[in-house]
C-alpha cells in the first residue's frame, strides 16, 4: 500500500468545510424547531385537555389520521420523485378528489349489490386510473404537475358529482364495519391500518433500490440519467402509486363515514400540509414516509386538541395554511442558501 501512503497526506480531506456550517445550523434549527413545536403542542394540550394523552385518544387521533395519512404518503411519493421545487416539482392535487371518487365508486357498487371484493378492486382501479391520467399528462404531455393534477382534480370531482348527484350514498358491508370497529383496548382498526401501510411504504421507499432511484430522479434528474435510470417510467410509476393511495384512502373513507362523502375537497389542504411538513423532520430535509407519518400525527393532534378544547375547527384550517407558508418558505430559503 505504498500508493496509499502517497495519496494519504493529500489536501482533499482538509478542503475547507467552513461556509456550510451556517446552512447546517439553520437546517438543524428547522428540524429541532419543528420537533420542539410538536412536543410543545403535545404538552400544552395534555395540560389543558384532560383526556388528550389517554391511550384511547391517541388511538383516536391515529384512526382519524388514517385517511389523510394514506393520502399524504401517496403525495410524498410524488414529492420524492418529482422533486421538491414547489412550483415545478412533484405535486398531486387530485388526491383528495381521487379519494372522493373512489369512495363513491365503492359505495355505488355496494348499493348495486356487488360484494366487497369487487368494490375494493374497483376503488383501487379507479385510483390507479386517475394516477395513470396524471402520469400521462405530466410525463408524456410534459405539463407541470401543479397544473396537470389541478385539471385532473376538477375532472375527477366532476365525475364524482355525476356518480353521486351530490348526495351521500350510504354503504354498509362486513369489511367496512370491520375497518371502522375498534379493538378491545378501544383503539380503532384504522389506526392499525395506517401503521401497517406506513411500514409497507417505508420498506419500499426508504429501503429498496427503487426508492433510492425515486429520490435520484426527483433531486437531480441529470445524475439519474447519467446512472442509466429510466426517468419517465419511474416518475409515471410515482403518480400511479399516488393514485393507488387515493383509491385506498377512498375505501378507508367509505368505512369511516359509512358511505361516500361530498366533502372530499376539504381534505386537500390538510394532505398537502402533511406531506410538505413531513420533510422538516428528516436529517436531509427531504420528504420521507416516516417524516410524513410524524407530520400526519402532528396535524391530527392539532385538530384533536382543538376539538377537545372546543375551539372552532375553522381555526384549524387557518393554522394549516400558516404551516404551509412557514414550512415552504423555510425550506426554500434554506435550499437557496445551500445552493
Amino acid at each position: 500500500m505504498s500508493a496509499e501512503a502517497e495519496f494519504a497526506p493529500s489536501g482533499f480531506s482538509s478542503v475547507e468545510r467552513s461556509g456550510r456550517s451556517a446552512g447546517n445550523i439553520a437546517a438543524a434549527a428547522l428540524r429541532f424547531g419543528s420537533l420542539i413545536a410538536f412536543a410543545a403542542i403535545l404538552i400544552v394540550f395534555s395540560i389543558t385537555a384532560p383526556y388528550f394523552l389517554s391511550v384511547g385518544n391517541i388511538g383516536n387521533v391515529l384512526g382519524q389520521s388514517a385517511i389523510s395519512g394514506v393520502l399524504a404518503i401517496g403525495l410524498t411519493i410524488v414529492l420524492i420523485a418529482g422533486g421538491s421545487n414547489v412550483v415545478t416539482g412533484g405535486i398531486d392535487l387530485s388526491l383528495a378528489a381521487n379519494m372522493g371518487l373512489s369512495a363513491a365508486v365503492y359505495a355505488s357498487l355496494t348499493q348495486l349489490g356487488y360484494g366487497d371484493a369487487v368494490a375494493i378492486a374497483a376503488s383501487i382501479l379507479t385510483g390507479s386510473l386517475i394516477g395513470l391520467v396524471n402520469a400521462i399528462a405530466v410525463v408524456y404531455a410534459g405539463i407541470v404537475p401543479l397544473l396537470a393534477t389541478l385539471a385532473v382534480m376538477n375532472i375527477v370531482a366532476g365525475l364524482e358529482l355525476v356518480l353521486t348527484g351530490n348526495t351521500v350514498i350510504p354503504a354498509s358491508t362486513p369489511i367496512l364495519s370491520a375497518l371502522s370497529a375498534s379493538d378491545p383496548f378501544g383503539i380503532p382498526v384504522l389506526a392499525y391500518v395506517l401503521i401497517d401501510f406506513t411500514v409497507l411504504a417505508t420498506a419500499v421507499v426508504q429501503y429498496t433500490p427503487l426508492g433510492l432511484r425515486l429520490y435520484a430522479i426527483g433531486e437531480f434528474p441529470d445524475a439519474a440519467r447519467a446512472a442509466g435510470l429510466p426517468l419517465r417510467r419511474l416518475l409515471a410509476g410515482a403518480f400511479i402509486a399516488s393514485g393507488v393511495c387515493g383509491g385506498l384512502a377512498g375505501i378507508l373513507s367509505v368505512s369511516y363515514l359509512s358511505g361516500s362523502t361530498t366533502g372530499s375537497g376539504e381534505m386537500l389542504l390538510p394532505v398537502v400540509v402533511t406531506a410538505l411538513l413531513g420533510s422538516v423532520f428528516p436529517r436531509r430535509l427531504v420528504p420521507t414516509i416516516t417524516g410524513t407519518l410524524l407530520s400526519a400525527l402532528l396535524v391530527g393532534f392539532l385538530s384533536n386538541g382543538f376539538q377537545l378544547l372546543n375551539i372552532s375547527s375553522t381555526l384549524v384550517s387557518g393554522i394549516q395554511g400558516l404551516l404551509i407558508l412557514i414550512v415552504v418558505s423555510a425550506t426554500t430559503l434554506l435550499r437557496r442558501q445551500e445552493a
Partner: protein, 516 residues
C-alpha cells in the same frame, strides 16, 4: 519538436479505440469533417482543440450520445456502425463529465452505487452497510480519503465530489476512462493529486483519454496528444515529440485567413479607467484604461476572471476593492440599471437568455431599453420609434422580413445584430461584448466586426471578450490576457499572434517555447 501528421501506419492490436474519418453534421454546421482518433492501450491520450473544434462531439460519439454520419468506429479491433450509451458501457468505456452528476442529498455510498445498488442477500432491500463499507474501501485505497459514513454529497467540496464521480466510474472496472476538463474547478494541489491518480490508473492498465484546455497539463500528463481543428485531426503525436507551444500553434492556425475590417480610429479621451479592481476568487488587482475609439480585447480560459470582470463592469458582480471611473467620474455599479445609467452596454454571450427576447419583434427588441426616448406625454410615439428602428435595421444590415419579424425567426448572426442595435438606440458609450460571434455564420461575423469598428469610430470605447483568438487579434487594438484571475500579459494586437496569446492564457508562456 515537430508534430508528425497523422497518416502514419499504427500497430494494430495495441489500439483500444480507432475512430477514423468521422463525419458529423448538425443542421447546416459540420461539427466533424473526417476526424480520426487512435488511442493506444495503457496510455494517457490528450485531446485538445479550441471551442468548436469538435472535441465534445467526438467524445459524445464515443459515448453513444451522437451517431456519426460517416466514418469507421473500431473498439478493441471490433468494428461498429454506431455506439449506444449501453454498448459503450459494455465495452468498458466510461466518462468523467465536467458537471458532477451526483445527487446532493445522497450519502457517498448511495451516490456511488445509484443504478446498481447491492441488496441484502435474499431480500429486495438495499444493503446500505455494504455500500458504505465498499465506498470507504475504494476511497481510501485510491485516494487516501476518509469521508464520514453520514456525509452527504452536498456537504462535500468540489474536489471531493470529483473523487466520488471518478470512483463511480472505477466501480465499473473501466477499460477506457475519458476525463472531460477535470481540473476546471480544482486548485493546483488537488489537480496534482488527480494527475497522480490518473497515472496510477494507467499503470494498472486503464486507457485514459484526457481533454483539457490547459496545455501545460497535457504536456505534463499525457503520453500522446491529438489536436483537433475545424472538425478534423490536424496532428497526432507522442508528447515527447511536441510542446505546448507547438500544440497551441496547431490549434489556432486557420485554413483561410479571415478578413478583419478594422478601421483606423484616432483615439480620444479616456472613457473608462479600472484601478486595482479585485474580487477574491474571481480576479485580482486588475488595472487598465479604455479610450474613446479604442477596441480592447480580453481573453482567458473559463474561470480566468475575464468574464467576471466584464460582468462587474455591467454591475452584475461586485468587486471587493478597487475603483472604476467612467468618463472621468467614479462609478458605483452595483446593478445593471446603474451601469446603463452611465451609458455602459452589455451584449452577453448567451444572447438567447439574456440579450434578446426571442418572442418579441425586431422593433420591440431594438427599442425596448430606450422606450423613454420614444415616449411623449406617457404614450409611445410609434412613428418615431419605427423611424429609428428602420434606420438601425438598414444600418446594421439585419436580414429580417421586416421590423415586425419575431427574433426567433432570425439567424444567430442577425439576432446578435439586434442585440447590439438595442444599445445603439440608447447611445451607449462603453460597449461590453461577450463572445459576440459565438454561433454566428462567417458572413454575419464580418458584418459584426464592421459594426464593432463603427462603434469605435463613433467615439465609443469597446471591450470585446472572446476566445476566438484570430478574431480578437483582428478586431482589437490591445489585448489583455487573463490567467487564474490575473492579467498576465498585455499585447498590442498588431504584435500578437494567436499561439502566443493562447500560450499565455493556458499558463505556458513563451519563455520555454522554441517555435521552429
Amino acid at each position: 519538436m515537430t508534430v508528425i501528421p497523422l497518416k502514419q501506419p499504427s500497430t494494430l492490436q495495441q489500439d483500444v479505440i480507432r475512430l477514423e474519418g468521422i463525419v458529423k453534421g448538425f443542421g447546416g454546421a459540420q461539427a466533424l469533417a473526417g476526424a480520426s482518433l487512435v488511442v493506444r492501450r495503457g496510455t494517457i491520450h490528450g485531446l485538445v482543440g479550441q471551442n468548436g473544434a469538435g472535441k465534445s462531439t467526438l467524445i459524445k460519439l464515443l459515448a453513444g450520445l451522437h451517431q456519426p454520419d460517416g466514418g469507421r468506429i473500431e473498439i478493441e479491433g471490433q468494428a461498429f456502425d454506431r455506439l449506444t450509451p449501453h454498448l459503450a458501457e459494455e465495452l468498458g468505456i466510461h466518462f468523467i463529465h465536467q458537471d458532477r452528476l451526483l445527487v446532493p442529498t445522497f450519502t457517498v455510498g448511495e451516490a456511488l452505487f445509484l443504478g446498481r445498488e447491492p441488496r441484502i442477500a435474499g431480500t429486495p432491500f438495499l444493503d446500505r452497510r455494504l455500500m458504505q463499507r465498499r465506498a470507504a474501501e475504494i476511497l481510501n485505497d485510491y485516494f487516501g480519503v476518509r469521508l464520514p459514513n453520514t456525509a452527504l454529497i452536498g456537504d462535500l467540496s468540489t474536489a471531493e465530489k470529483q473523487i466520488v464521480q471518478i470512483t463511480r466510474a472505477l466501480l465499473n472496472q473501466p477499460k477506457v476512462l475519458v476525463f472531460d476538463e477535470p481540473t476546471a474547478a480544482l486548485v493546483r494541489r488537488e489537480a496534482d493529486i488527480l494527475f497522480r491518480l490518473i497515472r496510477r490508473l494507467r499503470d494498472e492498465g486503464v486507457t485514459i483519454i484526457y481533454i483539457s484546455h490547459y496545455l501545460n497539463e497535457i504536456e505534463q500528463l499525457c503520453d500522446h496528444v491529438t489536436v483537433l481543428r475545424n472538425g478534423q485531426d490536424v496532428a497526432s503525436s507522442p508528447i515527447s515529440e511536441t510542446s505546448a507551444a507547438a500544440i497551441a500553434r496547431l490549434m489556432v492556425e486557420r485554413d483561410i485567413q479571415d478578413m478583419f475590417p478594422k478601421p483606423v480610429v484616432a483615439l480620444g479621451d479616456e472613457i473608462l479607467k479600472v484601478e486595482q479592481l479585485s474580487a477574491p476568487g474571481k480576479y485580482e488587482d486588475v488595472s487598465f484604461t479604455l479610450r474613446r475609439g479604442e477596441v480592447l480585447g480580453l481573453t482567458g480560459l473559463l474561470g480566468s476572471g475575464a468574464k467576471e470582470l466584464v460582468r462587474t463592469l455591467f454591475g452584475l458582480e461586485k468587486p471587493a476593492s478597487g475603483r472604476i471611473d467612467i468618463g472621468g467620474r467614479p462609478a458605483h455599479l452595483s446593478n445593471p440599471t446603474q451601469a446603463t445609467g452611465r451609458n455602459v452596454a452589455l451584449v452577453p454571450e448567451d444572447r438567447r437568455r439574456h440579450g434578446i427576447a426571442l418572442d418579441l419583434s425586431v422593433k420591440e427588441n431594438t427599442s425596448l431599453s430606450s422606450l423613454d426616448r420614444f415616449t411623449r406625454f406617457g404614450f409611445l410615439d410609434r412613428k418615431s420609434e419605427q423611424r429609428e428602428v428602420d434606420a438601425l435595421i438598414a444600418r446594421l444590415q439585419v436580414k429580417a422580413s421586416g421590423r415586425d419579424a419575431l427574433l426567433r425567426t432570425l439567424s444567430g448572426g442577425n439576432q446578435q445584430k439586434v442585440a447590439i442595435a438595442k444599445w445603439l438606440s440608447r447611445h451607449s458609450e462603453v460597449y461590453l461584448l461577450d463572445e459576440p460571434t459565438v454561433g454566428v455564420d462567417i458572413g454575419s461575423k464580418v458584418e459584426i466586426y464592421t459594426l464593432i469598428g463603427e462603434l469605435a469610430a463613433r467615439g465609443a470605447g469597446v471591450i470585446v471578450l472572446s476566445s476566438d483568438l484570430p478574431e480578437l487579434i483582428g478586431i482589437t487594438d490591445r489585448i489583455l490576457v487573463f490567467f487564474r484571475g490575473r492579467v498576465v500579459r498585455e499585447f498590442a494586437s498588431s504584435e500578437a499572434t494567436a499561439d502566443r496569446v493562447l500560450a499565455e492564457s493556458t499558463g505556458s508562456p513563451e519563455g520555454q517555447r522554441h517555435v521552429g
